[in-house]
């Protein structure tokens, strides 16, 4: 910018500004009350997951049969389950396990989906066609059923459930990433970088990836909700975490068997799951709306 004297001073070239949708959207996002509210709730949840099991009053894995179905009170703040274990302590541990499992599943989905989506979208051609056919076929399976198939093949366990969920949701990530990559590929700054002879890897990492971050964050949030539901479903069916380890789904599944005797636990755990998923959805929606662009669900 030239000086106030009007003389043509040394004009510094402003750094090439990427049309970054990521910029500023965080600022806008924070102004929305629902984003703040859901983020706060989720933060509390994470806190519980981290700290909870350490401050649990009782051993979540074992209990006294004499206290089976004990109503809240006498040390068991939320009552006792069918084996006389403290529900509160179990719930605290279950929170950590479920959130961790969902997080790891989402990580797997992204670890697989992002590279595939980037490569497919960036290079196009035969690679893209084949990958997309594969992806479309994978997405023809109902998510839970495919997860059950994978767990069926690998054997029921929490780890396998996580892997299964991650694998099942990877195609969604591929779709989103590929879509954004296709759009970003056409941007002027990408084309100029290519014209300047930048290596593909550099173009992808430095120019394309930063600009698809916002839809990715939205997807991540929504996918956390989905992963939690998936883990809960699998564990509910007995295909996930192995007892006596508690997870939300596991507790739900167990309480369901004793629905007649203790409806309270069912409602409690169910509510916790629902609220968590709701928070992730609202958060993701809020971010998506702040970006202002059409982000594929």
């Amino acid at each position: 910018m030239s000086q106030a004297t009007g003389l043509p001073g040394p004009t510094a070239m402003p750094p090439p500004r990427r049309a970054s949708p990521s910029r500023g959207f965080l600022r806008r996002a924070v102004t929305q009350p629902r984003v703040v509210a859901s983020a706060a709730a989720l933060l509390v949840l994470v806190l519980v997951a981290v700290v909870g099991p350490h401050v649990a009053p009782h051993d979540p894995l074992s209990g006294e049969l004499s206290r089976a179905f004990q109503p809240p009170g006498d040390g068991y703040l939320l009552g006792g389950d069918d084996l006389g274990r403290d529900i509160l302590s179990r719930l605290l541990l279950a929170t950590r396990i479920s959130l961790l499992a969902a997080f790891q599943a989402v990580l797997i989905a992204f670890a697989v989906g992002v590279p595939v989506g980037l490569l497919s979208g960036y290079f196009g051609g035969l690679l893209d066609s084949v990958l997309m056919k594969f992806n479309d076929a994978a997405m023809s399976f109902p998510a839970l059923i495919l997860a059950i198939v994978i767990v069926g093949i690998l054997g029921p366990s929490l780890t396998n459930a996580m892997v299964a969920i991650g694998a099942v949701y990877a195609p969604r990530v591929v779709r989103v990433v590929r879509g954004s990559t296709l759009a970003a590929r056409e941007e002027l700054y990408v084309k100029s970088a290519q014209a300047m002879g930048c290596a593909h890897s550099r173009v992808i990492l430095r120019h394309i990836l930063p600009n698809i971050l916002s839809p990715l964050i939205v997807q991540a949030s929504i996918m956390m909700g989905l992963a939690i539901l998936a883990e809960a479903s699998l564990s509910f069916l007995g295909l996930g975490v192995k007892p006596p380890t508690p997870s939300w789904g596991q507790m739900l599944g167990r309480s369901f068997q004793y629905l007649y005797r203790d409806p309270f636990s069912v409602v409690l755990v169910g509510a916790v799951i629902s609220v968590t998923v709701l928070c992730f959805n609202v958060f993701g929606d809020g971010i998506r709306d702040s970006v202002g662009r059409e982000v594929p669900k």
Partner: protein, 315 residues
């Protein structure tokens, strides 16, 4: 039109091939020797070899895949390792339950969504509209099993009005079939209704502002006919699209719902299969569900030609 249909039907083949490929590749991931797993931990070597041959595992991979797919095309989904019965038979026997469930859930969803969306679109920004938006957001976020469990609690346990389990075939007694279907169908249908209402309301809102709606009003046809004929007809395409997308959700949801309400459908079949490491059953149900989704989507695609005159190719 016929050529269009044929092209689409033929397009099914590559996708289904991919589906089978995915299933086959997953099968190769079985830890350890699938024959050994199937035969049991303490089976003798001969038993394991027998299982290996029976499962065709001694042939080269490509051949295995080929003969397996050939079998699928013929309708041969293999034999259950648990019961020794053909998997296709088991699937056919249990299919009516799952079909009943998904169909009734869809119909219930429609019955709720159409009037709700019409009401919301007709009188925008009033209490009806606001509460609809709220209800749908809420409905979409509640997981299926929570709704199901709550319903069981309220209707089956607290008030003992409706049964919480069991299935009565339609052919045996339509009345008892419907009574047993109510709670499960409502559980699944709630999510459908919420999603459908949301989309319908949005498209009806757009439609109501269209110029041809003014033409219809000015012809003095009356509100009922104007909304019911002119508006609804043009909302058919988005509705069908949403329903097509819902089938995936529904099929996944039946697994949980069948467990909650003790229904012997395909969902419980596959879960049993997992516990018994019964691979043919697991794969069989997996493929059938994928096939259903693909076929339903095809039907939706083809219906566009029927529903929207502008899409029709040629006369």
């Amino acid at each position: 039109m016929l050529k269009f249909t044929l092209k689409r039907v033929v397009g099914l083949v590559p996708i289904m091939l991919m589906v089978t490929l995915i299933m086959f590749l997953l099968l190769q991931l079985t830890p350890g020797d699938p024959a050994r797993v199937a035969a049991g931990a303490d089976a003798s070597e001969e038993m394991v070899q027998l299982f290996r041959e029976r499962m065709g595992l001694d042939q080269p991979l490509l051949q295995q895949y080929g003969s397996w797919v050939a079998g699928l095309v013929r309708g041969d989904f293999g034999t259950s390792l648990q019961y020794g019965t053909p998997v296709s038979e088991m699937i056919l026997r249990r299919a009516p339950v799952t079909i009943s469930l998904t169909l009734t859930a869809t119909i219930l969803g429609l019955l709720v969504a159409v009037p709700a969306a019409m009401a919301a679109a007709y009188k925008p920004d009033r209490i009806v509209d606001r509460s609809t938006v709220f209800a749908t957001t809420f409905g979409i976020s509640l997981p299926d099993f929570f709704i199901g469990l709550l319903l069981v609690l309220v209707f089956a346990i607290e008030f003992d009005v409706l049964p919480a389990l069991g299935y009565v075939p339609f052919t045996e007694s339509p009345l008892r079939w419907s009574i047993h279907m109510i709670l499960p169908a409502v559980t699944l249908g709630a999510a459908v209704a919420a999603e459908l209402t949301r989309h319908m309301r949005a498209s009806l809102r757009d439609i109501v502002g269209m110029e041809y709606m003014n033409t219809a009003r000015v012809k003095g046809l009356g509100t009922v006919r104007v909304m019911g004929k002119h508006a609804l007809r043009n909302a058919a395409v988005p509705v069908v699209t949403v329903l097509g997308l819902q089938i995936r959700r529904l099929l996944g949801g039946t697994v949980i719902v069948e467990r909650i309400f003790s229904l012997d459908g395909l969902g419980s079949l596959i879960v049993q299969g997992v516990f018994a490491r019964d691979f043919p059953v697991i794969l069989g149900v997996g493929i059938v569900s994928a096939l259903t989704v693909v076929v339903v989507n095809l039907a939706v695609d083809l219906s566009y030609g029927f529903l929207d005159p502008r899409v029709r190719v040629g006369a």
